[in-house]
């Protein structure tokens, strides 16, 4: 009986002990080791997957893709797991077309130093991706998404592609290997375009298959629509490149602007670069000179001088100004015209680009009023365009002006401007005196196409409609009878102003009379302008160097192609070189009766002359000998007088 009882108790004690041990173990596992066990379980079951959303796309105004990101595969290696480094390097070298010995050395070095991650090739295209997989596959016929070799793997990245290559490269900019914008819109709109990093938790079964995925939703990056029109941009770039090459110039820039909306239709720089291969280009070429570089505008600035004087009622277009013998001494410096034009109307003085006429106009205006209008036209401050590193321009206040500053500034010296600022100033006149803030960003849209925001430019009246109209007429005269005859268009009226300025040479410490910046800023049609085009050619080194010679033809080529594309109706200007009448006497009084010699022939004739004379005569190449003496450009007369005191830009700016 007792034995039975003891047995019974023994069993009970054993059971209690057993349960106690199990309980204790459970307590140990679930309380003291709970966190560690949980993390172990999660690491076996869950994996964290990080991916970067694709960067936003940049479109032109017509919806064509200018920049887009695509998924790309990058090959990496874990050197510790690669034992046959030579063999792997040999295979990879063949497919990736890289030095296999260098790669083998890299893998060996990584293995010796215990490194577990080495990039082999980044952002490979689909074909190369498949070729690498095929090179290591057991069955070459079978397509695989992995490299069948221990220690080699793929990582998904994104690659920025610019399908149009160099088209608008200075506007779009580029992003680096880490998908961060480095220039242009890519840089200025980094916050809009950048893709957020998305973390996702993936749960896997015992076979490694993902059966659940959780993660916080992130807003995808937005797309940007620019005001650039790819077709106009292309034509502008082509014309600019041709113009720079023809002038044997150092560089050039061109802007095509819609004066009514302030939209930049094209912005080109030459030399240019392909953002797909930005690293292979001189970084100096990355700079968007049209908004980042200051230059002396030269006679282009006279538009502001006359515009301000007209607006304040100091001059009348048909009133007379005495330009005397073409020389005027102000502040100890003698400013000169190429020839004495005597007493002429302001319109003619403007058309002939008379320095004396412009200075007398500025003197009538006075320092304060002149400065006020220079500022009103947008000089000396950023335009506010959505591009990085825009230059303010160089403009000092009247309190810091010297004795000849007003005179110098009225003819475009002692002031630094950007091409965009000149384009905006002329757009103000083209838009009946209302300045519209230029912009290159048209719209921001969500990835599904829904508009997020549209740019609304700021407008400001600078001069009255009447003044703008009168100034347009004066600018028209420049093209018809002044220094910009090569800006005349077939079938469209055009207006504008040439400018040629000496460049400041830092080595000389003063302006260099051998180096010029030639420009032409104009618009068309003259009466109801639809486009403003600003052309600047830097250091033309050929025989031709004046704005009317090297920049105006570029304007013509662009305008001639852009206006029909914008469906602008011809305003009936008779083409210069296309006689409508076989016999001029048949022509009605309002039609063109005289026929001018073709421009090409004149240039050819100029080439035969000695170099100095060639450059001087080229401006007036179409005119007879008698006219040459009367109407030569004042800019070149100054160039003929090297003994005269040089205008030092250092002092001025």
């Amino acid at each position: 009986m007792r034995t039975a009882f003891l047995r019974y108790m023994f069993i009970v004690a054993f059971l209690i002990l057993w349960i106690g041990v199990i309980g204790a173990r459970l307590v140990h596992l679930q309380i003291t080791q709970a966190d560690w066990l949980r993390s172990q379980a999660e690491s076996n079951q869950k994996t964290e997957h990080k991916s970067k959303m694709l960067r936003g796309t940049i479109f032109d105004s017509t919806g064509r893709v200018l920049a887009m990101s695509v998924r790309a595969n990058s090959l990496f290696a874990d050197p510790k797991m690669i034992e046959d480094a030579e063999d792997v390097a040999k295979k990879l070298g063949k497919v990736l077309k890289i030095d296999s010995r260098e790669l083998a050395a890299q893998l060996r070095d990584g293995r010796e130093n215990g490194r577990r991650f080495v990039w082999i090739a980044r952002k490979l295209d689909e074909e190369t991706f498949r070729a690498v997989n095929k090179a290591f596959a057991d069955d070459p016929e079978k397509q695989s998404s992995n490299v069948a070799h221990p220690g080699l793997g793929w990582r998904k990245e994104q690659k920025r592609e610019y399908p149009y290559g160099q088209l608008a490269s200075h506007v779009i900019g580029f992003s680096n290997a880490d998908d961060k914008g480095q220039a242009g819109i890519e840089l200025s709109q980094e916050d809009v375009l950048k893709g957020e990093i998305v973390k996702k938790i993936r749960q896997r079964d015992r076979l490694g298959r993902v059966y659940d995925e959780t993660g916080a939703e992130r807003e995808p990056p937005k797309d940007i629509y620019l005001t650039i029109n790819h077709s106009i941009q292309f034509k502008t770039e082509e014309a600019l490149a041709a113009g720079v090459k023809a002038a044997n110039a150092k560089s050039g820039k061109a802007i095509v602007l819609d004066p009514k909306t302030g939209e930049i239709l094209a912005m080109a720089n030459y030399p240019t670069f392909d953002p797909n291969e930005y690293s292979s280009v001189d970084p100096d070429n990355w700079r968007n000179r049209a908004v980042q570089d200051n230059f002396s505008p030269g006679s282009v600035m006279k538009m502001v001088t006359y515009g301000a004087a007209l607006e304040t009622g100091r001059i009348e277009p048909d009133a007379f100004v005495n330009c005397g013998d073409g020389r005027l001494t102000v502040g100890g410096y003698t400013f000169s015209d190429s020839h004495a034009i005597g007493s002429v109307s302001y319109t003619k003085a403007f058309a002939q680009s008379s320095n004396v006429g412009a200075i007398r106009t500025a003197q009538k205006l006075g320092q304060d009023d002149f400065y006020e209008y220079v500022r009103k036209f947008g000089f000396g401050k950023k335009t506010g365009i959505e591009l990085p590193a825009e230059a303010d321009g160089l403009l000092s206040g009247p309190d810091r002006w010297g004795g000849m500053t007003l005179a110098s500034m009225s003819i475009g010296y002692e002031i630094g401007v950007t091409s965009l600022q000149t384009a905006v100033a002329f757009a103000t006149i083209a838009n009946d005196g209302v300045k519209v803030q230029p912009h290159i960003l048209k719209e921001i849209r969500q990835s599904d196409g829904k508009p997020v925001s549209a740019v609304k430019p700021i407008t400001e009246r600078v001069v009255s409609e009447q003044t703008a109209r009168e100034l347009r007429r004066m600018l028209r005269e420049v093209v018809l009878n002044g220094t910009a005859k090569q800006a005349q268009l077939h079938g469209y009226s055009s207006a504008g102003k040439t400018g040629t300025a000496w460049k400041y040479d830092p080595q000389l410490g003063r302006i260099n009379r051998e180096k010029y910046i030639s420009s032409f800023v104009g618009f068309a049609p003259a009466n109801d302008p639809r486009v403003v085009i600003a052309i600047t050619i830097d250091e033309p080194r050929g025989g031709l160097r004046y704005g009317g010679q090297v920049a105006a033809p570029v304007f013509k080529q662009i305008a001639q192609q852009v206006l029909p594309e914008l469906k602008v109706l011809r305003d009936g200007t008779v083409p210069e070189n296309v006689p409508l009448f076989d016999d001029p006497s048949d022509a009605p009084v309002f039609a063109v009766t005289e026929s001018e010699a073709p421009v090409r022939e004149e240039e050819k004739a100029v080439e035969d002359a000695p170099e100095q004379k060639k450059a001087d005569d080229a401006e007036n190449g179409r005119k007879p000998e008698k006219q040459l003496k009367k109407e030569s450009d004042p800019e070149k007369t100054a160039a003929r007088r090297p003994k005269e005191k040089a205008l030092s830009e250092k002092d001025k700016t």
Partner: protein
């Protein structure tokens, strides 16, 4: 002494009368058990289904990503093919020339030649326009009147201001060139 025999009074064994299990109870138990078991099976099935769906979902999701990625690459290729520089290169290979000021046929010339063609084939169509010209311009010189008959003049006349023949400046009278600019000025004022 007679030994008294003590006998335990026999207690009649009371047997509890077992009642047979009620069939309803059995049935309910069986049903509940079956329900619970079925629930377990159902839950297990659902779990495995959800696993399968999850796996399938994940596969489809990655497939969508791949297709989207391929779609983008194709879009990109399309854009590359549409690139003006690519088109230019292709055109050059075909022997076409680039457009410059010098080889660009002006719209004016094109329209003039078209108008000339119209004149040859259908002069009547151009006639109403000529009528309008005469009314507007009233050309004073016979030569101008003769020219106005030509449909090619239409383009010039249509756009020239009506006050074109009124001289505004003595100097401008001297040259036709100045006259032209004055006409345009007049047009600008209007």
């Amino acid at each position: 002494m007679r030994k008294k025999k003590f006998t335990k009074p026999s207690v009649p064994r009371v047997r509890r009368q077992k009642e047979p299990l009620p069939w309803k109870f059995c049935l309910a138990t069986i049903l509940c058990a079956a329900f619970v078991a079925a629930g377990f099976f159902f839950a297990a099935q659902q779990h495995f289904y959800s696993m399968d769906y999850g796996i399938e979902n994940s596969r489809l999701r990655s497939q969508i990503e791949d297709l989207k990625s391929r779609n983008r690459r194709l879009k990109l290729k399309k854009e590359v093919a549409l690139s003006p520089y690519e088109i230019k290169q292709a055109a050059m290979k075909l022997g076409l020339r680039g457009t410059t000021v010098h080889n660009l046929q002006p719209l004016g010339e094109l329209q003039e030649s078209m108008l000339a063609a119209v004149d040859e084939h259908d002069a009547e169509e151009a006639a109403p326009v000529r009528t309008v010209i005469r009314q507007d311009e009233k050309p004073k010189t016979p030569a101008a009147a003769v020219v106005a008959e030509k449909p090619r003049v239409v383009k010039t006349v249509k756009t020239a201001p009506s006050k074109a023949s009124e001289p505004s400046d003595a100097k401008e009278k001297e040259s036709a060139k100045s006259t032209r600019s004055r006409i345009i000025d007049e047009a600008a004022r209007r």
